[in-house]
Every structure is written in structure tokens, then in C-alpha cells.
């Protein structure tokens, strides 16, 4: 299932194969982004590696199956190896006369324990029983062999004997395929294993910590388990095999529950096995605690920006029309339609107001067309302008208020960038927006608000907030300066770099200790 760096996949970044046996300082484990998806977490990983030039890295990227996609990032010079772990590339066919292990029940029971409850001890049980079976059946063929059949039957009997076996079987294959791939993957040697999410990447990091005795660390931008839960609760592709109606406490476990429990269990396993659990802002820690992360492990390292880039930008004056701007891609998650509706409401109060939308429009052409139609319907062609991809530095001196109408964010860089330029911000209450705009409760000294936070999908609130700032230059200046001071104080790139340098230094120096995990009793 996995492909080692010695045989790079099609389109994969090529790395010197000679370095594969060397021990890197940090092995980064990332799922579904770097180096193939631009922006967001990928950009952060690129930044992290480049800003730690004295640290050597190896990278394991988890991807569904071999890809022909071209990487969007050039691997920095301090990356020693790059490997793929394919989660949905279901191994090889079993050969004829494949030997079968005498007993697969212990492995099946351990797997059931892991996906239902999670935990480092459960993972240790799975690893031990998997190793025992691997002596008889090659891991690469196990998932398609009679061994897997025996396992799925036993797990079915143990967990959902009343459910449709067919649905269970296919759900099991999809769910456990990734786990098998994670179990059989040959770990690169490293001093620290750093996963960027829970899920399968988190399980691999947990396995590395148990197997090698080296420390594992987790950095979560968004809460992966929560994202999966939302996706699974809304998924149409998952069959509801038990008629529960609107009952929320029906004790009969269904496939949807099984999936959600599995990802929660993976998260629990990762949180237990990792010595440090890092996130970008405090609100995220609430979810991490709920999922089992213990207080001493929790740490916040905020993203930072380079203040120098924004230091020479002058505040927009009265010589330009009152202008608000949304900086971001034109996609549904940014709720650009609420911004346009807010522009419509704003125009009723400030007829010469302008609304800029600075960002690429080609990612979701259908949504962009809908936005254009909305602009036409509301007769806002003279007010709203889609600029496409631009250098925001060229526009910032013409913007009085920046706006973010997103439905979901973690720690949006645009808020920091606007703050560095002294532009007040109106944002929906998502991710760390409130924390950046209003400051943490324990902020010393308290800097005051740097803008206004609104509800989600509330265009009238947004229009009110923007109108308030546009009508009052003194307030606008005050908020802009407060935001600038907060960004300078808390959200600089240098601070983030120093925090990771310190974290890596501490973990690399940590002695190896194989945890004495007793296999879990089921």
C-alpha cells in the first residue's frame, strides 16, 4: 500500500534516495494537503520547514491513492526524504496457497477495541497482534485475503450483529483500509514525529511513538475530528441501516455512528500518544479537551506574519470613496453572498460606498456566476468589484474596513495582515477571529477591540458594523491601531518560529523511552 521514496510516485517530488536510511530530526506526517494542495496547512508546512533551516525533515504524506497531481511546493533543501502512504490503495491480491494464521480473533478483537474506544494501549494491542499475523501473511496482501474476511466477520458479530452485513462490509473496508495501510507502513527514522492532524496521520504518529520510543507532537489547525464528524453527520453516501427517526439516543449503533466513533477513537489515540498537543488558538482547546487531550499537553502557538511587508502602508483617507473589502477566494465557505447583501444594505446608508472582493474567482465558477448574478439583481455593479487575484499590498491603502464573512476558518491570515496595516476588521465569529480582533481574556495590557465581530450569515449586522466604522474616522483609527498593536505583540512570524525552534529542540533532546503499554484488555 505504501510507496517508499526510493520509487517516487508519478508527479511526486523526487528526493535523493541515498538519504532514506538516515535519521531526520523531525518526521512530518500530513494527510491530504502538502505538497499537492496550495494554501492553508500546506503553506504553513512549507513555512515551518523553511524557517527551521538547521533542522532536518522527512515527510510522510497520506493520500488516498497514487496521484498524477503535480506538487505545488518545491521541497526545501533540509528535507531528507519524502514518502507516500496510500490509504485507499487496497493492497495486492493474495497469492494461491497463501498460508493462513491459526488465529485471527485476537487481532480482530484488538481492532474492534481500537475503532470503538481508541487509546494508546489499544493501538499497542493492535500492533502486537498485527505483528503476530504478519509472520504468516504478508501485510500487503492481508487486506484482500481470507484473513481479512475472518476479521470482518468477527468484528461484525462483536459490534453490529443486527446491521446489514453488506453495508457493514463495505464500510469496514473503507474505514479499516486506511488503518491497515497505517499499520503496515514502514516508518522513516526520526527523532521526533510531528503530525499535523489526528485521523490516520495521528494514528501513524502514535504508532511511531509506541514503536520507536521517540516523542510525537500534534499541531492542529482546525479540529480534524470535528470536521470529520460534521462531514459524516451530513453525509448522504453513508447508509442509515437502522430506522432511528428523530431519536437522538437510540442505543443501536449504526454505520454512521461507527465512522464517527472510529475517528474519535483515532483522535483519542493520538492525543494520548503525543507528548505535546499544539493548536493555533484557545477556542480549539475546548474541543481537544472533550476528545481526551489532557491539560499539561495543551499548547497554543499562533500563526504569525511578517510585519515588515505591511509597515509602509498608509491608512485610506477621505480622498477615496468609503471602501470595504473582502480578501479571499470566491467560494461558498467564504459566504461572499452575505458580503454582497451587506454591500446592498450599506449602499442604502452610504450611497457612494464601494465593496471590493480581492481574490481568485476560478475555484468555483458556478458559485462565482451566482455571485455575479446577485450583484446584477441588486443593481450593485457600480458598487461591488471582483478584482480576481491581486497583490493586496497594492489595495490596502484604499481600504477603510476589511470584512470576513466566512462560515469557517481557523486562524485567518487576512485578519493579521489587515491588522499589520492598521485596517480595522469586521468578521464573523469563526475560528480565532474574536481572539484576534478583541484579544484574549488575559491580554496584558488590554489593547481594546480592533474591529467588530458579528454572527454568521448576518449581512445586516455586517453592514451596520461597517457603516459605524466608515462614519467615524476616529473610531476607525482607534480600532485599526489596536489591531496593529495586537498583531505586533502576539502574531508575528518571528514568535511562531521561535516557539517551534524551542519545541523541536526540547523534543529532539528527549531520551528515547519505549512506553510499557500493556495490551488492552477487551
Amino acid at each position: 500500500m505504501q510507496q517508499l521514496a526510493t520509487v517516487p510516485s508519478r508527479g511526486a517530488p523526487k528526493v535523493d534516495a541515498r538519504a532514506n536510511d538516515a535519521i531526520s530530526d523531525v518526521c512530518i506526517i500530513v494527510e491530504g494537503c502538502y505538497p499537492y494542495v496550495p494554501g492553508g496547512v500546506s503553506a504553513w508546512i512549507d513555512w515551518l520547514i523553511k524557517t527551521q533551516p538547521d533542522t532536518s525533515f522527512s515527510i510522510v504524506t497520506l493520500w488516498p491513492r497514487p496521484t498524477t497531481q503535480a506538487p505545488r511546493y518545491q521541497l526545501p533543501a533540509n528535507v531528507m526524504s519524502f514518502q507516500h502512504l496510500y490509504l485507499q490503495d487496497f493492497g495486492e491480491r493474495p497469492v494461491i496457497r497463501q498460508r493462513r494464521p491459526a488465529d485471527t480473533d485476537a487481532f480482530a478483537d484488538a481492532l474492534a477495541g481500537l475503532i470503538n474506544h481508541g487509546g494508546a494501549a489499544q493501538l499497542a494491542s493492535v500492533m502486537a497482534t498485527f505483528k503476530a499475523i504478519s509472520g504468516t501473511v504478508e501485510p500487503q496482501v492481508m487486506f484482500n485475503s481470507p484473513v481479512a474476511w475472518e476479521i470482518v466477520r468477527r468484528m461484525y458479530d462483536a459490534t453490529m450483529p443486527y446491521a446489514s452485513f453488506l453495508d457493514y462490509f463495505w464500510a469496514w473496508r473503507a474505514l479499516l483500509g486506511g488503518l491497515f495501510a497505517t499499520l503496515e507502513f514502514e516508518l522513516p527514522k526520526a527523532r521526533v514525529y510531528h503530525t499535523i492532524s489526528t485521523g490516520y496521520a495521528g494514528v501513524l504518529a502514535a504508532r511511531a511513538a509506541i514503536e520507536t520510543g521517540r516523542p510525537a507532537v500534534l499541531t492542529e489547525h482546525g479540529i480534524y475530528t470535528n470536521e470529520r464528524r460534521i462531514e459524516l453527520l451530513m453525509a448522504d453516501w453513508l447508509a442509515d441501516t437502522v430506522e432511528k427517526g428523530h431519536a437522538l439516543h437510540d442505543p443501536r449503533l449504526d454505520l454512521r455512528d461507527m465512522w464517527i466513533h472510529a475517528f474519535e477513537a483515532y483522535a483519542r489515540t493520538c492525543y494520548e500518544a503525543c507528548g505535546d498537543v499544539v493548536t493555533l488558538y484557545e477556542d480549539n482547546q475546548r474541543a481537544q479537551r472533550v476528545l481526551g487531550a489532557t491539560e499539561p499537553k495543551l499548547l497554543v502557538i499562533a500563526n504569525g506574519i511578517d510585519l515588515e511587508r505591511f509597515s509602509n502602508i498608509k491608512a485610506a483617507g477621505d480622498d477615496v470613496p468609503p471602501t470595504m473589502a473582502l480578501i479571499g477566494r470566491v467560494v461558498p465557505i467564504k459566504d461572499v453572498k452575505s458580503f454582497i447583501t451587506a454591500a446592498h444594505a450599506l449602499k442604502q446608508r452610504i450611497p457612494n460606498a464601494r465593496a471590493l472582493i480581492l481574490g481568485p474567482t476560478d475555484e468555483d465558477p458556478e458559485y462565482f456566476a451566482e455571485c455575479e448574478q446577485l450583484v446584477a439583481d441588486l443593481e450593485l455593479r457600480a458598487t461591488v468589484e471582483f478584482t480576481g487575484t491581486v497583490n493586496i499590498l497594492d489595495y490596502m491603502s484604499r481600504i477603510h474596513v476589511c470584512v470576513l464573512t466566512s462560515l469557517s476558518e481557523s486562524q485567518p491570515l487576512v485578519v493579521l495582515e489587515a491588522g499589520a496595516a492598521g485596517i480595522p476588521f469586521v468578521a464573523t465569529n469563526v475560528g480565532s477571529c474574536r481572539e484576534i480582533i478583541e484579544g484574549r481574556a488575559d491580554e496584558q495590557p488590554a489593547l481594546g477591540p480592533g474591529g467588530i465581530v458579528t454572527d454568521l450569515v448576518a449581512p445586516i449586522q455586517i453592514a451596520d458594523a461597517v457603516a459605524k466604522l466608515l462614519a467615524d474616522p476616529a473610531l476607525r483609527h482607534k480600532y485599526g491601531e489596536a489591531l496593529r498593536a495586537r498583531v505586533s505583540q502576539t502574531y508575528t512570524s518571528m514568535q511562531a518560529v521561535a516557539a517551534y525552534t524551542h519545541l523541536y529542540g526540547r523534543l529532539i533532546a528527549q531520551p528515547t523511552s519505549i512506553a510499557n503499554l500493556q495490551p488492552a484488555t477487551l
Partner: protein
């Protein structure tokens, strides 16, 4: 031939071990051919033992017979038949001559009617491979047999809005999942509360649901705008549609242009109650009449409400008379008097 009904929950292939080592029971021609082969081998052996001919003749005869058997196996295979027994016979005869032929005859006694099992096995495999759909009857059978139907003894669902405000985190998330998967405009107040929740996790999920629901809302507005022209204003269907549109508008999830369009359609469909006439209202089913009355109360149109109640009361007696009286100063659009006799 229809595939045998097989419970979807069947976790294992149908057993093939009922009669020991099973070979499908052959048809008459196969039995006859095996008996002929056994007889031929027996005669060959008998002739050699009695020294009727020398061993080369015996060998040639044996090889010829094996060749014929091989051709038979190939013919059965080409015809798509079960070649197991012919192949077994050919191998046994070629290796051990008459003894093998006798062994093949003995095998006949152990064969069993495997056709049913084979069909069952094929049906099982097709179901496992998702190559066939399960008919509704089988699905229903599965649900009942395995206890996956709705639990009628469970407690009634709580108000979604109440759960979103005071429920546990898991309950709130599950509720939002239900709203997303089975959207109805009546769920919008709960969704709006979730969007304003203090819990970030709930806000994020509510936002994801809102993104998805917006598509449903737009479809609903389109549908009402299209079919609204065919609905008689004031009819229960029109009022129901108008109420749904108003719920959509109140949610704030509609695009501004859709909101304006929905408002126009809702006003057109929902203005009719003031023109409700006795005959149509009388014809409404009880549930619809109650729905109209509830709307009149909600909108504070108590005059129209009183008239509606009066009509309902008169109608319920079964004996009534409706008269229209010319009243110059009467502002009411509906003027109904009458009485039971």
C-alpha cells in the same frame, strides 16, 4: 430463474460442506457416459487378462478411451456445463484404468443436488459484490428480522430548538446532522439558534449545514414561484407554501434577490384568507382548516378568525344555510349568516 431470497445480514457464504466433498449431481447423459467408460475399460482389461490380445493392443485401447474422455470434458466445458465429474472420470481412468472408472461410478453415489446451493452461492456473491439490488420485500424482511425498524417505545423527539439551546454537545451535533440530512423549513429556527451558539464547534457545524440548506431553500423558492401560480390563493396548499416561504425569509439564509422574490410569492399566496369564502373553507379538511385558523390568529386577524370558526361550527352540524345579505356599511369581505335548524 429468480435468485433465492437471502437475508442481507448473511455474513458467511452458504455452507458447501453439507454432504462432505460434494460434486453436483450429474444429468443422465453424464451417468451414461461414465458407465460406458467403465464398461469399455472393464472389457479391455478382461480381454487382456484372458490373453485375447497382447498389452500393446490394451494400451492403444486405453489411450483411445482416455482421448475420447478428454474430448468429452472439453465439449462439456465449451457448452458451459459442470465439467467436474467428467474431468474426474477422465483423470481416474487415465491413471488407473478400470479401477478409476469404477471409482468414478462410486463418486456418483456421493454426489448431491448442488444446483440450489450454487444459486444461493451466486446470489450471495452478487449481493456481497453489490452487483444486484435488493427488492423492497427483502429489504423490509431484513429490517424486521434484524430489529432495525423504528423503536416505537422510545421517547418522543424533543424540540430541535430546545436541544440546540440546552442539549449536550453530542445531541446538538446530532440534531444539526438530522437537519442537514432531512431538511424542512420548520427546522430553520433551530438552525439560526445554532449559528449564534456560544460553542464554536456548534457554530462551525451550523455554518456547514447552512451552506447546504441554502441550496434547498433556493429550490423551495423556485418551486413555490413556479407552482404558486397554479395554487388558489387562500387554499391550504397556498397558505402552507406561503408559511414555508416566510420561514425561509426569516432565516436570513436566502440570497437578497431570492428573499425579495420569496416575499412577493408569499404575499400573493398568503393574502387570500381575507377572501376566504364559506364554500371553500367548508370544503377544507379539518387539519387544513386548523392551519388556516392558526395563521389568522398569528397574524392578528381576529375578525376573519371568528368568521372561520363560525363557518366551521355551522358546517359541523350538517344542517345549515348560507345567505348573503346586502349590508351597505359592512366592511367585511366575507359576510356569512345563517343558522342551524
Amino acid at each position: 430463474m429468480a435468485a433465492p431470497v437471502l437475508p442481507a445480514t448473511h455474513p458467511a457464504p452458504p455452507s458447501r460442506a453439507k454432504g462432505g466433498w460434494a460434486v453436483e449431481r450429474p444429468n443422465a447423459s453424464v451417468v451414461l457416459n461414465i458407465m460406458l467408460a467403465a464398461t469399455a475399460e472393464g472389457l479391455l482389461a478382461f480381454g487382456y487378462i484372458k490373453a485375447t490380445y497382447d498389452w500393446p493392443v490394451f494400451l492403444i485401447g486405453h489411450v483411445a478411451l482416455v482421448g475420447i474422455l478428454a474430448l468429452w470434458v472439453a465439449a462439456v466445458g465449451r457448452a458451459g456445463g459442470n465439467a467436474a465429474l467428467p474431468l474426474l472420470t477422465a483423470i481416474a481412468v487415465s491413471a488407473t484404468g478400470p479401477i478409476g472408472a469404477v471409482a468414478a461410478l462410486i463418486t456418483l453415489a456421493f454426489s448431491r443436488p448442488a444446483l440450489e446451493d450454487r444459486l444461493l452461492l451466486e446470489a450471495w456473491y452478487e449481493r456481497i459484490a453489490l452487483a444486484v439490488d435488493t427488492d423492497e420485500l427483502t429489504q423490509l424482511y431484513d429490517l424486521v428480522a434484524t430489529g432495525r425498524t423504528a423503536d416505537l417505545s422510545s421517547e418522543s423527539p424533543r424540540s430541535f430548538s430546545a436541544i440546540v439551546q440546552t442539549g449536550s454537545l453530542a445531541d446538538r451535533q446530532a440534531t444539526l446532522g438530522v437537519i442537514a440530512r432531512g431538511f424542512h423549513p420548520d427546522y430553520l429556527p433551530a438552525l439560526m439558534l445554532a449559528l449564534k451558539s456560544d460553542e464554536p464547534v456548534i457554530r462551525v457545524q451550523a455554518a456547514a449545514v447552512a451552506t447546504r440548506v441554502r441550496i434547498d431553500l433556493r429550490r423551495l423558492v423556485d418551486r413555490c414561484a413556479t407552482s404558486g401560480g397554479q395554487l388558489a390563493p387562500g387554499s391550504s396548499a397556498a397558505i402552507s407554501a406561503a408559511n414555508q416561504l416566510r420561514a425561509c425569509i426569516a432565516s436570513g439564509l436566502l440570497d437578497e434577490s431570492d428573499r425579495i422574490r420569496a416575499g412577493i410569492v408569499a404575499d400573493r399566496l398568503g393574502t387570500a384568507p381575507s377572501r376566504v369564502d364559506a364554500v371553500r373553507l367548508r370544503a377544507e379538511p379539518v387539519a387544513d382548516r386548523l392551519s388556516i385558523e392558526a395563521m389568522l390568529l398569528r397574524e392578528g386577524r381576529f375578525g376573519a378568525f371568528r368568521i372561520a370558526r363560525r363557518i366551521a361550527r355551522i358546517s359541523s352540524t350538517g344542517l345549515y344555510r348560507v345567505r348573503r345579505l346586502a349590508r351597505a356599511a359592512a366592511p367585511a369581505k366575507v359576510d356569512v349568516t345563517g343558522g342551524a335548524r
